[in-house]
Symmetry: C2
Subunit: 335 residues, 2 copies
Amino acid sequence: MDHQQNDHRQAPLRIAIVGYGNLGRGVEAAVAKNPDTRLVGVYTRRDPAGVKPASGVPAHAVADLPAHKSEIDVLILCGGSKDDLPVQTPEYARHFNVVDSFDTHARIPEHFARVDAAARAGQTTALISAGWDPGLFSINRVMGDALLPDGATYTFWGKGLSQGHSDAIRHVPGVAGGVQYTVPIARAVEAVRSGTRPELSTREKHLRECYVVLEPGADAEAVRRAIVTMPDYFADYDTTVHFIGAEELAREHSTMPHGGFVIRSGNTSQKTGHVIEYRLQLDSNPEFTASTLLACARAVQRLHQAGQHGCKTLLDVPPALLSARSAEQLRADFL
Amino acid sequence: MDHQQNDHRQAPLRIAIVGYGNLGRGVEAAVAKNPDTRLVGVYTRRDPAGVKPASGVPAHAVADLPAHKSEIDVLILCGGSKDDLPVQTPEYARHFNVVDSFDTHARIPEHFARVDAAARAGQTTALISAGWDPGLFSINRVMGDALLPDGATYTFWGKGLSQGHSDAIRHVPGVAGGVQYTVPIARAVEAVRSGTRPELSTREKHLRECYVVLEPGADAEAVRRAIVTMPDYFADYDTTVHFIGAEELAREHSTMPHGGFVIRSGNTSQKTGHVIEYRLQLDSNPEFTASTLLACARAVQRLHQAGQHGCKTLLDVPPALLSARSAEQLRADFL
């Protein structure tokens, strides 16, 4: 294909959302910010009569997707990585161009293989594991390694709300509600930025802050101990637990900020070192992820039009294909 | 083409350098850090007998290039943007895959058109304007705009040595030597990072610091005034001039550090804002630029093998093509 020859699209890119949770609502918000795109519908496994998209587009049952195929350019799959996407992405990739945000890092090769087989069979284009990590952070890990092969890469997350760790807290007996923030440790970030390539343990890189609402009569110290000693989730970290009221939890901890850093430091000769840092500071993890998925849908449509079938990731996408602007304008005004 | 199917190269990528200044020496150093590449020769317009590459590769006259065509996969053109590259890149792109670092932003579309015509005629692949700005910073300007279309982008340069401004100083009567550092103003950077999308004048974004060695008997105040009032280069900035001795200039100001930031701030909904920051801190501008050019040479070779002829920029390059690693390894370990 020839990226220089991308037509400046006239017809809007027709997007459909599968799954109307935080991420699906984020895609809906992103469409409103991207005039070259149009949302044609929301598809749900619930009763569509109970789903009222904020933008007024119709809600349909997922069973209606085959009948609506000709109205949809790209499906954005907004389900979860644990149970939804491993089934949905291969299933829909057989018939639609799709984008997902599959983020179980260890299972990406397996997910890729299944989606690739489906998309090749259906002559469609799929882009998996889009978002910021995996996604934008992955691009920076790959480019850092390629640009400074004699070096070390560090990824820090936060300060941000971790959905998985918040869920883990809420399963502790005696806990009525709670959230967990992952916090990069400033001393570690500074050491990495200095270019000294420190070796850092898990405990040295991040700490975990929990805000917990107790059930009536629960033993605070027992809850605290159950949280901070929980294997995999908390035991390898310095964890602090703050007990707060239900009202404070709702008032102060209902948004989903996140972000983080990818830092590469490396040498091009013995005494000559460099530091590359990519940093995100996000008021809303699902809204930013959704906005990234929408830009990826634009790239998927163009790759598909160029005959590139099969499964892709953001590592396979030329940056220009994410943009609504023409290649000529990007060269003249952005290069 | 199909990025998933890139073979893991066995034969090294054969690189030749045209022009053996700071940038050419940087490419030579980068080859030493990238075991999948090999430097086959340095080509010069000078008498090659007077050029002794540090790595021991032979130096040749540029007139020998046609005879050596079969030994070279990619030519990295290390001349200047003012006089060398506008002539050399189209000339060599007719016969070789080439990479250049053409950095006169306003003339990129014109340079692109000439190189594209040459490369299409010769069925070669050319990548122009590689490096960090244009180049890596351009990628981040394009992606920031695509990911957060309701937003503003800011580029800051420095702290770093500006070759053009240093040259301008050295042309002032009474100046025996000198360097100029471009310095981003911390207050402006912080305002941008806060996400408030400030409007910033030229003077508010950067200041300029000059270290100047006077000729014997020169009038320091006259020199200072000539520098700070120089149109285009200094008049629109707050500029400080420090007079130092020749020994201090040689001791403290002989390296070429540089770097900067690209910051995008934008909203995905009315109250939800995000900040994306890409930051480079470089001990040596030419060595880092050269390392980037070498990674681009890898991508050029792969694009060429996939039949993608014509002129490209980094905006057209999938990140995976810059890496020596296989697509499978990148998905498993970097995504």
